[in-house]
């Protein structure tokens, strides 16, 4: 019945995380109450993580988890029914459904669409981003509350409450555990992608410095996006998102120095970039661009691919990047995209052309006064040889950013210019 020998903890963790959404979707469909099902599956996962290392992995791990979760729910239903029986005589109908606990070797049929339904549920637009992220990591990612708390550096009690509030909101909104209608589907899928991208960014941007015992959120986001991509291989934007994550993650080792200081793209040691991730990302985006309706993730991935394919910073094909930003601006009205477009234009046509584009952004209240606008002006004035103006903009940007490594980087740029150092 059991496979012999000790189970390496890492393998066990992977197995449990892969099985978590499959088991939960079946239990949630059968039980109807998503919140209760989620608790039961979490308990089954915890039971497995303590029992399997000693006893070995069962022959049918999915069946085992399913049985433990259903038994847990059956106990709940039983006590609930006992309470109701005292109050009235109805309830036998519900009971018939729950009298049967499946055997541990039962064939558990998971419908692939169920995992998708699960993602739609956890990334429901009614939830705040912080709640959706936490719930997705627990219910779909199979992480424990303690692991998620560590990843976000908050106490476990705080994270537990965030997850339980998320489940209450879902319960209160009466969202059924079913596939959304075709009309809703595109919007809901957009919300899923957005949550996965937020998880990736959280992991990617905080990966500098000591990360002892912190679960790697960017790897987790990539794993979940791979899963989504496997479910929807023809969805261009999901492919684009996966490609964007891989092409960004490829540069992770080069992005920060030994003490966590930021290294901008043009100063990175490109030999540290991960070739395997770049090749995979480029292949994905190349395959999807001509065949799918165009979207922002595919275009951002295409830009990342152009950067990643340049062996040296000076080999970057900025003309192509300008063109892609042009298409992106046509798709969405986002001042941050316009800002990046201005940088690309400056690289092709010179700083004056870039600065002229920036002046139109001063009237946009979403970005006017934002530190990024000053940071970009700093770069462009430096390109133009206007050292004093460049230094002033870098200083203004450094004062306003809420990121410590970025503040250090911008302050250093201002100092270099002020001391007359040639850069």
């Amino acid at each position: 019945m059991r496979s012999p020998g000790a189970v390496p903890a890492a393998n066990l963790g992977h197995l449990l995380r892969d099985l978590a959404p499959q088991v939960l979707s079946v239990v949630a469909r059968r039980h109807g109450d998503f919140a209760a099902a989620e608790d039961a599956v979490q308990e089954a996962l915890i039971a497995a993580s303590t029992q399997w290392p000693a006893d070995g992995i069962p022959n049918n791990p999915k069946g085992w988890l399913y049985q433990v979760a259903v038994r847990r729910l059956t106990d709940q239903v039983r006590s609930e029914l006992a309470r109701r029986r005292r109050e009235d005589a109805v309830a036998s109908e519900v009971w018939a459904d729950w009298a049967f606990v499946p055997a541990a070797d039962a064939e558990v049929h998971t419908d692939e669409d169920d995992t998708l339904v699960l993602l739609f549920m956890c990334c429901h637009p009614a939830l705040t981003p912080a709640s959706a992220i936490a719930l997705t990591l627990r219910a779909v990612g199979g992480l424990t509350t303690g692991e998620i708390a560590k990843a976000f550096l908050v106490p476990e009690a705080t994270m537990a409450q965030r997850i339980s509030r998320a489940k209450q909101s879902i319960k209160a909104s009466n969202v059924p555990f079913t596939m959304p209608t075709d009309a809703e589907r595109a919007e809901r899928l957009g919300a899923v992608r957005h949550v996965l991208y937020l998880i990736f960014n959280e992991g990617y941007t905080s990966s500098a410095g000591p990360a002892l015992n912190r679960p790697d959120l960017s790897n987790e986001a990539i794993r979940l996006t791979r899963m989504l991509h496997a479910l929807l291989p023809a969805d261009g934007e999901t492919t684009g998102l996966l490609a964007l994550m891989l092409l960004t993650d490829a540069r992770r080792a080069a992005r920060t120095g030994p003490s966590g200081e930021l290294i901008p793209l043009d100063e990175q040691d490109r030999s540290l970039w991960e070739r395997g991730l770049i090749d995979e990302g480029v292949a994905l985006v190349t395959a999807t661009l001509p065949t799918s309706p165009i979207g922002p993730y595919q275009l951002q991935a295409a830009i990342a691919a152009v950067h990643d394919e340049a062996t040296r910073a000076e080999d970057t094909d900025w003309r192509q990047i300008v063109a892609i930003y042009g298409v992106l601006m046509g798709l969405e009205d986002n001042p941050m995209v316009a800002l990046n477009h201005a940088i690309a234009v400056a690289m092709v046509d010179g700083p004056a052309a870039g600065l002229a584009l920036l002046s139109t952004l001063d009237a946009d209240e979403r970005v006017a006064g934002h530190y990024r606008l000053d940071a970009v002006r700093g770069h462009l004035y430096r390109m133009a040889g206007e050292r004093d103006r460049a230094a002033a903009h870098f200083r203004a940007a450094a004062e306003r950013t809420a990121s410590a490594p970025e503040r250090d980087y911008l302050t250093a740029k201002a100092a270099q210019l002020a001391t007359g150092e040639r850069t």
């Binding site: 912080a130 106490p155 705080t158 409450q161 965030r162 997850i163 960004t248 793209l265 809420a402």
Partner: protein, 133 residues
């Protein structure tokens, strides 16, 4: 977004830690208020940390001295009119929410159950940089 909420208490003529001169029921109400605030913040999934600091009479100011040894003097600075009594770190979706929490801290009851209207300094905690383009 993370914010640090710093509660500054006024230094009194009758001694710094005026709370110790309050009527027992007033003190109890004050402690109960802070306790339920922290419970609410935990339940909202927002609390990262909350600590009260010991009386400023016990505070010392440290500078580096000879041979890198700590040079310790009584502190804090005698001329300051306020001292840091405690702090919260909260993880919230928007700045306004941090202000709401700070306002609730400020409404903590004092003698006779009257709100203290303590000034609370709200500062954003530096975070990781955004993803590069």
């Amino acid at each position: 977004m993370r914010y640090m909420l710093m509660m500054h208490a006024p230094r009194g003529k009758a001694g710094d830690y005026q709370v110790s001169n309050w009527a027992p029921d007033d003190l109890k109400a004050h402690i109960g208020f802070m306790h339920s605030l922290n419970t609410d913040l935990t339940q909202a999934g927002e609390l990262v940390d909350a600590q009260g600091l010991a009386s400023p009479g016990e505070a010392r100011v440290v500078r580096v001295g000879k041979n890198s040894a700590p040079a310790v003097t009584d502190g804090p600075f005698a001329e300051s009119k306020e001292f840091l009594a405690g702090f919260w770190i909260v993880d919230v979706d928007r700045t306004e929410r941090a202000y709401e929490i700070a306002a609730r801290v400020s409404s903590a009851p004092g003698p006779g159950g009257k709100p203290l209207v303590i000034p609370v300094e709200v500062r954003q905690v530096m975070s990781a940089p955004p993803v590069d383009a």
